[in-house]
């Protein structure tokens, strides 16, 4: 009879592969009760699990890291730990080394495998870019920031020219 590695009391009924902080795989024998506690049962539980992992990581992350802020969306690492959600693509670059251990524990890996990104002309994206520039230009005129408005108008003209070519 195999004893549960977690509680050391009950009989183990399943084995789970787990990765430690260094990324080494270990086999764990776990009893049904502990499995339930560790959240192997549902999406809700998976989220809970992620929250636990975050709490553990908190201990390792210094004060400075806590207040680090994404330059694009202004999300701080502390914000992320509260919500479990990143704010934008830039967040992944800003917090890369803080996220790596979490990602490894969630997925057992930190290296994407599979389909890559297609490069090429993205017409909808060009439209989006133009709409954003126009909105910014309008805002600049409203703010009577004419220097910025002139700059934006030039960028807009250039972008429109590229779109038409």
């Amino acid at each position: 009879m195999k004893i549960c590695d977690l509680c050391g009391k009950r009989e183990a009924s399943l084995s789970v592969r787990q990765l430690d902080k260094e990324g080494r795989a270990t086999e764990l024998a776990i009893c049904a009760e502990c499995a339930k506690k560790r959240g192997f049962t549902s999406v809700e539980d998976l989220k809970k699990n992620a929250a636990e992992i975050l709490a553990e990581l908190k201990a390792k992350v210094g004060e400075q890291d806590e207040t680090r802020v994404c330059p694009r969306c202004r999300l701080s690492y502390a914000d992320f730990k509260k919500s479990g959600r990143l704010g934008c693509a830039e967040c992944y670059r800003t917090f890369a080394e803080l996220l790596a251990p979490l990602v490894r524990r969630l997925h057992g890996s930190v290296q994407h495998v599979g389909k890559g990104r297609q490069r090429g002309r993205k017409r909808a994206q060009e439209r989006l870019e133009l709409a954003r520039l126009r909105a910014e230009l309008e805002q600049a005129i409203q703010d009577e920031d004419y220097e910025r408005a002139a700059l934006l108008r030039d960028r807009l003209k250039r972008a429109e020219g590229e779109g038409a070519s």
Binding site: A50, A89, Y92, L106, A124
Partner: protein
């Protein structure tokens, strides 16, 4: 709003491969647009821009000809729930207040949520165990959208998503299983544990959390990073095949050893459905699932499996209201539900 009352998507009105055990297969992708904050952090104006941009991208890709686009104003609580019950949108999406949109193809095989937790969440549904069809549909949509949109991506983490649990492929693949014999023979625990052990996620469908109704289960991949799309699907397919095999053996066992008891359970369920004057959606779901089991086993011959499967969706509160064509109180609903089921099942 122009909702289709009694027609249910192709993925439910057909019986696909291994349809006696697997009701449907789903492949979902999460994607975000580069250079715009994720929905949780974006400004109202940015949400509107994303909505407009994706709408345009869908139009350019030719998809809008094949379905309908629902704008935020059309996605109120009641109508929104209709899509949730049909597995075309998530509860979070319906509850969200930011500008959002939903595209649903005419056959309901494809749907796209815009500005849910990620800018784009799209899925393909296929009847039975059919990852080939579901994956192809979803991957084609992905490719056609990608000629229009620049996705947020990193070489290391793959497709970038608001929640780190969806990183990498951004793909969640799942099967909806009907496992009455494994539940009756109490083998189900063993099966589910086996699935967890190989890194899959199991939960009941039509239920909150992990509670199951009607012996219906959903199995999906837990990890999205470090495995390719093909590898993820391979694991799910092989585990599904084992479960199908196991369920069929359990059915054989029951029919050999407990035939009368099973017949009794099936005919009692059908009897209640044919006689009830008031019925909740929970009770109806459980009874319909048992009737479906009876049809599969050949105990009931006058009903088709797909008709019963469709009823599982049509009797849910929001769908029932669309069929009846008016807003009902819960008590009225239970009464009208019973009438509706009687009309469908009495031959």
């Amino acid at each position: 709003m122009n909702l289709v009352p009694e027609k249910v998507g192709a993925w439910l009105s057909d019986t696909g491969p291994e349809g006696d055990v697997v009701i449907s297969t789903r492949v979902r992708f999460a994607r975000n647009i580069e250079d715009v904050p994720f929905p949780g952090r974006m400004k109202f104006s940015e949400a509107e821009l994303v909505l407009d941009t994706v709408h345009w991208a869908l139009e350019e890709s030719g998809y809008l000809k094949e379905g309908k686009f629902f704008e935020p104003g059309m996605l109120g609580q009641d109508d929104g729930l209709y899509f949730v019950e049909r597995h075309l949108a998530s509860p979070d999406f319906i509850a969200s207040r930011s500008p959002r949109g939903l595209f649903v193809s005419t056959d309901e095989r494809l749907s796209v949520m815009i500005n849910e937790e990620d800018h784009l969440r799209f899925q393909a549904l296929a009847a039975g165990l059919d990852f080939a069809t579901a994956f192809k549909l979803a991957a084609d949509l992905d490719e056609r959208l990608e000629t229009q949109l620049e996705y947020a991506f990193s070489e290391e983490f793959g497709f970038l998503t608001a929640c780190p649990t969806n990183l990498g492929t951004g793909m969640r693949a799942s099967v909806f299983l009907h496992l009455p014999a494994l539940v009756l023979t109490r083998e189900i625990e063993k099966v589910l544990r086996g699935a967890y052990a190989v890194g899959l996620l199991v939960r009941g469908i039509y239920g909150e959390g992990s509670e199951t109704r009607g012996n219906l289960f959903q199995i999906s991949n837990q990890r999205t990073l470090g495995q390719s799309e093909a590898e993820i699907i391979e694991v799910l397919t092989s585990v599904s095949r084992q479960i199908i095999d196991y369920e069929r053996k359990a059915r054989e066992y029951l029919m050999h050893n407990l035939r009368v008891e099973i017949e009794d359970k099936v005919f009692r369920s059908l009897g209640i459905l044919r006689g009830a004057r008031i019925i909740s959606s929970d009770e109806a779901t459980n009874l319909l699932a048992t009737v479906r089991f009876g049809v599969i086993l050949g105990i009931i011959n006058e009903l088709k499996m797909s008709e019963v499967s469709q009823l599982l969706v049509l009797i849910r509160p929001a769908n029932l209201q669309v069929i009846i064509g008016e807003k009902l109180t819960p008590a009225e609903r239970d009464e009208r539900r019973a009438t509706f089921i009687r009309q469908k099942l009495v031959r």
